[in-house]
């Protein structure tokens, strides 16, 4: 994996998703280039997970298009999925498989050579400190271990595009730090990393560009400097986020709890 640093690996155009009368994602257009870490922020229910699910092919868009590594997801879904790794917000994994068996399963789904799967599994299990529990059933794992297993399965085929929904939730600081380092390394090797998070510190420190979604609409995209220019004099991402998405209700909650 070493795509052209300037090539666009994720491209959405006027992406719309409606559930009945509710528009969850409304005309969302953005792009993420190779080697870039893109942070996706938004309040609860803003449409982050729906957008991610459309990019990885779990949800069919109502309209608009998604291209992954140049492949249109509607026309060439297999090619687009083959270069994409996905970590969902809740790591629902087969509880009766072990981490090693799960990685073999995913490796076979992506049609990777058996020996390569074995080698990659071993490396990833060691990297995520899962070697000792690699043959235990996943239902005996803690949430953090399941999260790491899911991430290992997303990385088994060395994806060009990595889509992550709240990757650090439930992880201890050490594991969270490790994931941040891994993401950085992957980006340096030319992968496009797309991550949604509620932890603004992660977004501020790690992401090259940030997109903010609110009520299904992408209200801001850019680097930290560009977002600062958008904000009304705010310098921290938290202030910019609250000023763009509306934060008055939080002050009200604090007042009630006083």
């Amino acid at each position: 994996m070493n795509p052209n640093p300037n090539s666009t690996l994720i491209q959405t155009r006027d992406l719309v998703k409606r559930f009945g009368e509710k528009t969850a994602v409304d005309q969302v257009t953005f792009q993420v280039s190779a080697g870039e870490v893109f942070g996706f922020l938004g309040p609860n229910g803003a449409g982050k997970t729906t957008t991610i699910k459309m990019i990885v092919g779990l949800l069919q868009p109502t309209s608009g298009s998604v291209e992954v590594a140049g492949f249109d997801l509607q026309e060439h879904p297999l090619e687009a999925k083959a270069v994409c790794g996905y970590l969902p917000d809740t790591p629902n994994l087969y509880p009766k498989l072990s981490a090693r068996e799960l990685l073999r399963f995913v490796g076979d789904l992506y049609e990777i050579d058996r020996d390569q799967v074995e080698r990659r599994s071993k490396e990833l299990l060691r990297l995520f400190e899962l070697s000792e529990a690699a043959d235990d059933p996943i239902d005996s794992y803690s949430h953090g271990m399941q999260q790491k297993t899911a991430l290992a399965s997303a990385l088994i085929h060395d994806p060009q595009v990595l889509m992550m929904d709240e990757p650090t939730v439930g992880l201890d600081p050490r594991s969270a730090r490790m994931i941040k380092d891994i993401l950085r390394q992957l980006a340096e090797r030319g992968a496009a990393i797309f991550l949604s998070t509620h932890i603004l510190e992660i977004a501020e420190r790690m992401c090259d560009r940030i997109g903010i979604i609110n009520e299904g609409q992408l209200i801001a995209v850019g680097t930290m400097q560009e977002l600062r220019a958008l904000g009304k004099g705010e310098t921290s991402l938290e202030d910019i986020f609250l000023s763009l998405t509306g934060g008055a209700e939080y002050a009200e909650i604090a007042e009630v709890l006083k």
Binding site: L78, Y94, S153
Partner: protein, 583 residues
């Protein structure tokens, strides 16, 4: 600042509060349920009420017969048998409550997920435990009363027992139920100390399913029509063994009978000992269970991973059996992956496995019945036309095919009909991977088809050998079964796609609604159609006196075409739905 004015320290008001909460949850569920579910619940309530009345009437009538002089011919001492009935009912009730409470308390204490919330609330711990025990035993207690009271009250009325007998029956059953639940809670904690609660629940579910199906079907193997009077008498007398003088349960039963018959001293003595013992055991087990739970004793499993050596994975290249290497070459990676994963999951998840074992048990029972009959059609009164008898004899040649396909049908309704649903919330792993629809369908098809076919072949080969079926018939049967199972698999898989449900917590409770039921029925009808096409021509040409080869050939073409249509067409119709599953 705290909004809590007076923490609930009163035990019984707290228990009441918690039980009322359960009631509110039930009522709220009832109010929000669909109309048909509401009607179903009301009908169920009425049916249970009717059962109560019918059970009472039947018990009364049966017990009157038991005291009749005719019974003395079979049972030498009917009075002794009658006096044993309360002992039997009380003992049975105790054992049933003990066993069922184990499962229910396991669920209530360790799997319901509300214990932390309840224990952190300002309620006495004892109230939480008492309410959990009530919650676990109330449904079973109601059932015990439903079936036990009519028998015991019927006995009282038929034998003219005095009035004190009736309230004491209720008191004894209630106290024994509490005792059984108390003991069950201690056993639960002991078991959970050694094994994970979820695993225990799975094993328990598996055992219950197996025992239930064995109990319900094993009756078919008995020759009850040939039981002699002596055998019946012997069986009835064996029941007396329950009335052992060292069993506290026997004391309770005999005490009730003694009170009923007006033998006050022995009656009150036996009952008092039983009731004191029950109350004592309940109190001790309740406080012990509380302490064990609160101290975390039961949550710290003794079989921790500490000290367990990491298994060294053998190199797959050198150890893979030749059959797997063949699979690797023949099947694309995703198909192989789905096949391997599903077999592992099905084998390891006892909740799924318990439902797959049912057809196997049915198969064994039907095979025994078929072989025992010697493959001969039922003779009836012997006045059937000769042609009909010949048709029946010919059909009996294929009876084992019918039975093997019946087993496949019931197995496939689960394996193929729920194939996609069984992925559950993990379906994202397959859906986000580069797996084309044909490969996904091929994988799911093989997961259902291969084990069913192997089971079918084994059943067919064994029964054919035992029935000494000719080689040409056996080969034809094997081909017919191979094709028919493929057809039914395709049809069930298509229904499974339409009714796919990925939102479930327990694979035994996957609901596919009306579509699942419709699929089961339609595949049953299609199975009969395939059987007709395969074996109709064979029987017909035999009747016409033609050579069997022509019948086999026509049957093969007609049946094969029908099976292939069933395998391909339904899946073709639902192909567009597969990429949008779970959206």
């Amino acid at each position: 600042m705290s909004l809590v004015s007076t923490p609930g320290s009163n035990l019984w008001s707290s228990v009441w509060k918690l039980l009322r909460l359960r009631g509110v949850i039930f009522l709220s569920g009832f109010r929000r349920a669909r109309l048909r579910n509401k009607i179903g619940m009301v009908v169920l309530g009425l049916v249970l009420l009717a059962v109560l009345v019918v059970a009472f009437v039947i018990s009364y009538l049966v017990l009157r017969v038991l005291s009749s002089p005719q019974l003395a011919q079979v049972v030498p001492e009917p009075d002794r048998l009658l006096a044993n009935i309360p002992v039997m009912v009380v003992s049975l009730a105790f054992v049933i409550i003990l066993i069922t409470s184990f499962g229910l308390l396991l669920q209530a204490l360790y799997l319901a997920g509300d214990m932390d919330f309840l224990l952190s609330s300002p309620l006495p711990i004892r109230a939480v435990f008492l309410s959990k025990q009530m919650q676990a035993i109330l449904p079973n207690y109601a059932l015990i009363l439903l079936f036990g009271l009519p028998v015991l009250f019927g006995l009282g009325i038929s034998q003219g027992y005095n009035l004190l007998y009736y309230p004491l029956v209720v008191l004894v059953l209630t106290l024994l139920t509490l005792t059984a639940a108390g003991i069950a809670s201690l056993v639960v904690m002991g078991v959970v100390r050694i094994f994970p609660a979820r695993r225990v629940a799975e094993v328990l579910g598996f055992l219950v399913a197996i025992v239930s199906i064995l109990c319900s079907q094993s009756g078919q193997l008995g020759n009850f029509a040939e039981i002699s009077g002596e055998q019946a008498s012997f069986a009835l007398m064996q029941l007396e063994r329950i009335n052992s003088p060292i069993s506290p349960l026997a004391w309770a039963g005999s005490g009730l009978v003694a009170i009923g018959q007006g033998q006050w001293l022995s009656g009150i003595g036996s009952l008092a000992i039983t009731l004191l013992l029950s109350g004592g055991i309940f109190a001790i087990s309740l406080s012990t269970a509380e302490r064990l739970y609160y101290s975390g004793w039961a949550s710290v499993q003794v079989s921790s991973r500490r000290g367990k050596k990491t298994r060294r994975e053998p190199s797959r290249v050198t150890t893979r059996p030749i059959v797997f290497t063949l699979f690797d070459r023949l099947l694309p990676g995703p198909v192989r992956a789905i096949l391997a994963k599903d077999f592992l999951v099905l084998r390891r998840d006892l909740r799924s496995l318990s439902q797959l074992v049912t057809p196997l048990i049915l198969g064994i029972i039907y095979a025994v019945m078929l072989v025992r009959r010697g493959g001969e059609p039922p003779t009836g009164r012997g006045d059937a036309p000769a042609v009909l008898i010949e048709v029946m004899s010919n059909l009996m040649l294929f009876a084992n095919v019918g039975i093997s396909l019946f087993i496949s049908w019931s197995l496939l309704s689960r394996l193929a009909g729920m194939s996609f649903s069984l992925e559950g919330k993990q379906y994202w792993l397959i859906k986000s991977a580069p797996v084309s629809t044909p490969r996904l369908v091929a994988g799911k098809f093989l997961v259902a088809y291969l084990p069913t076919l192997i089971l079918c072949w084994i059943f067919l080969l064994i029964t054919s050998l035992l029935q000494r079926v000719s080689l040409d018939t056996l080969v034809y049967n094997l081909i017919a079964v191979t094709l028919t199972v493929a057809g039914i698999t395709g049809l069930n898989l298509a229904f499974g796609v339409i009714g796919a449900n990925f939102e479930w917590e327990d694979p035994r409770r996957i609901s596919q609604g009306a579509l699942g039921c419709l699929g089961f029925l339609v595949s049953g009808v299609c199975l009969l159609v395939c059987l007709f096409f395969f074996f109709g021509p064979v029987v017909l040409f035999d009747l016409l006196g033609s050579t069997p080869a022509i019948g086999f050939l026509v049957g093969l073409v007609a049946g094969g075409a029908a099976s292939l249509c069933l395998m391909i067409l339904p899946l073709w119709f639902v192909r567009q739905r597969i990429p949008v599953l779970a959206e």
